[in-house]
Amino acid sequence: MEWVRNFLRYRAANTFLVFIGLVMFFSLLTPNYLFVDRRNLAALGKLFPDLGVVALGVGVLMICGEFDLSVSSVLPFCSYVFVRLLYRGFAPFWAFWAALGVGALLGLLNGLITVKTKMPSFITTLGTMMFWRGVLYIWSKMMPAGIRNLVPSGSLFERTFAGTVGSFFPVQALWFALFAVILGILLHYHRFGNWIYATGDNRDAARAMGINTDLVKTACFMIVGVLCGFSACMQAVRIGSFAATQGIGFELRAIAACVVGGTSLRGGVGSMPGIVLGALTIPILDNGLILLRVPVFGISAFIGIATILFVVLNSYVERKTR
C-alpha cells in the first residue's frame, strides 16, 4: 500500500478524498438523484466559476503569503467599467480588455501599497475594498444597467462567456478549467511558481536567494485583479446587466475555498489542484444541502459547520499520514 501512502502525502489528496465522499454522498442521497441531474450539473457548472475564477487567483496570492479582500469591490468596479464602455458604443471585445486592464491596475495598486508601505495586505485590501466600493456607489449611483441589447443573446461574445458547448456544458466551467491549468503550470512547472512558494514560505530567505519578492507579490496581486476583471465580464454577460451588489461576500468565500483546498493562511503552502477542489466544494455543499431539502432559511449554519469540519478532517488525516 505504498502508493496509497505516497498519494496521501500530497496535501490536496485529503481534500480530494473528502470531496469525492461529498459528491458520492449528495449523488446517492438527494431525492431522485437530483445532484447528478443534468439541470443541476448545468446550473452548477454555469454559476460556480464566478467565484471559482477569482478563488484561483486568491489561492495563488495566499501561497505567496498575502490576502486580497478587495476582490468583492474590484469585481463590480470592473463590471461597471465594462458596462459603461458598452453604453459609450465600444465593442464588447474592447470593453472586455479594458475591464481586464482596470482589474490589473487595481491589483497593481494593491501590490504597490502593500510592498512599499510594508503594510499587511489584509489591511491594505480591506481599505481598498471599502474605497473602490464607495467610488463605485458614487459613480454608478447604484443604478442597475441592462446590457441585453448591447450583448444580445446568441451573439459571439455572449456565447464565448455565457454559452454552452454541445448544448449542455457551460462554457464558464471551461474558462475555469483553462485558468486552473494555466495557473497550475505557472505554479508547479515554472520558475515563477518556485518564487511564489519561496516568497510565501520565507520572504527573507527568498530575498537572500536573489528573488525580487516585491515583484512576485505585486504580480500575484495583478493576477487576482485580472481574474476579477474576467469574472466581472463573464457574470455581467450572463446576468445581462451591471448590479452594484455583484461580488459582495466573494472576499471571504474565496479565502474559505482556498483554505478548504489546503492552502495555508500563513503562506508558502497550497496547490492548484487543492484550490480547484476547494472552489468546487463550497458551491457543491450549498447546492447539495438544498437538494437534500435542508431548511434553506438556516443553510448558512450548515455550511459554516461543514466548512470547519472539512478543514479539521483535512488536518487530522494529514497528521495521521505523516
Binding site: T30, P31, L34, D37, R39, N40, A42, A43, L44, K46, L47, F48, D50, L51, K141, M143, P144, A145, G146, R148, Q235, R238, I239, G240, S241, A243, T245, Q246, G247, I248, G249, F250, P283, D286, N287, I290, L291, L292, R293, P295, V296, F297, G298, I299, S300
Partner: protein, 211 residues
C-alpha cells in the same frame, strides 16, 4: 422615507412617512399571482409558496412576507417556506433559487421578496427546466432581467415602488412642513407591473433614472 417602521407611526415617533406601504404592496402582488393561478385552474389548497429573501431578517422582507401571508389566508393557501437566498450577490441568489426549485417540485409560486431575488427568478426558472408560466413567479422592483422575465412570460408581475416620488415628495413635504406644518403619510408604491405596456413606459424612463 423608503422603509417604514414595522408598526408604522405607532412604533416610531416620526413626523410622516413617504414610501411604499410594504405590506399593502405585497398583499396586492400576492393577490395578482393567486388570481393568475385560479384562472389557470390550479387547486390553491394544495399550492406551495416559496419566498426568497436576500436578507431574511430585514424589515422590508418580513413586512412583505406578512402581506403575502395575509393574502394566502384569504385564498386558502397554507404551505409556504421563506428561503435564505444567501445575500445580495446575484450568482449566490440564482444558485439557491435554482436548487430550491429542483428540490421542491411542489412549488406553485416563487416570489422574490427583494429586487435581487426577483431579478434572478427568470434565470432560475430556466435553469430548473421550467416553462414560462409553469411556476407562477413575481416580486419587487423593476430591474432589467425582471422586466425581461415579464416579457418572456416567466414572471407574472412585479411591484414598482416608484422611488423617484419618494425623493421628490420628501423635499416637497419638508417645504410644506416648514411653511404650513403639514405631516402627511404618502404611499408611493404598489404599482403593479404586469403588462408590456407598463414595461414600455418604465424602459423609456429608466435610463433617465425616473422609473
Amino acid at each position: 422615507m423608503n422603509n417604514d417602521d414595522s408598526e408604522g407611526a405607532v412604533g416610531n415617533p416620526r413626523l410622516c412617512y413617504i414610501g411604499q406601504s410594504e405590506k399593502a404592496a405585497a398583499y396586492r402582488l400576492a393577490r395578482r399571482l393567486f388570481d393568475e393561478a385560479k384562472a389557470k385552474g390550479i387547486d390553491l389548497s394544495k399550492a406551495h409558496v416559496a419566498m426568497a429573501a436576500e436578507v431574511p431578517g430585514a424589515n422590508y422582507a418580513k413586512i412583505r412576507a406578512s402581506g403575502i401571508l395575509e393574502a394566502m389566508k384569504e385564498y386558502g393557501i397554507t404551505s409556504y417556506e421563506i428561503i435564505d437566498a444567501g445575500g445580495l450577490e446575484m450568482t449566490t441568489v440564482e444558485a439557491r433559487e435554482t436548487a430550491y426549485l429542483l428540490a421542491h417540485p411542489e412549488t406553485t409560486f416563487l416570489i422574490g421578496l427583494g429586487g435581487i431575488c426577483t431579478d434572478r427568478l427568470t434565470a432560475s426558472l430556466k435553469a430548473a427546466g421550467k416553462q414560462p408560466g409553469e411556476i407562477i413567479a413575481g416580486g419587487f422592483d423593476t430591474t432589467p432581467d425582471t422586466l425581461a422575465g415579464i416579457k418572456e412570460g416567466y414572471v407574472t408581475a412585479t411591484i414598482d415602488q416608484q422611488q423617484y416620488l419618494q425623493g421628490y415628495f420628501a423635499v416637497y413635504v419638508l417645504y410644506l412642513y416648514n411653511k404650513y406644518g403639514f405631516t402627511p403619510n404618502i404611499d408611493t408604491g404598489g404599482y403593479l407591473v404586469d403588462s408590456p405596456e407598463k414595461i414600455a413606459l418604465i424602459e423609456k424612463l429608466s435610463p433617465e433614472h425616473i422609473r
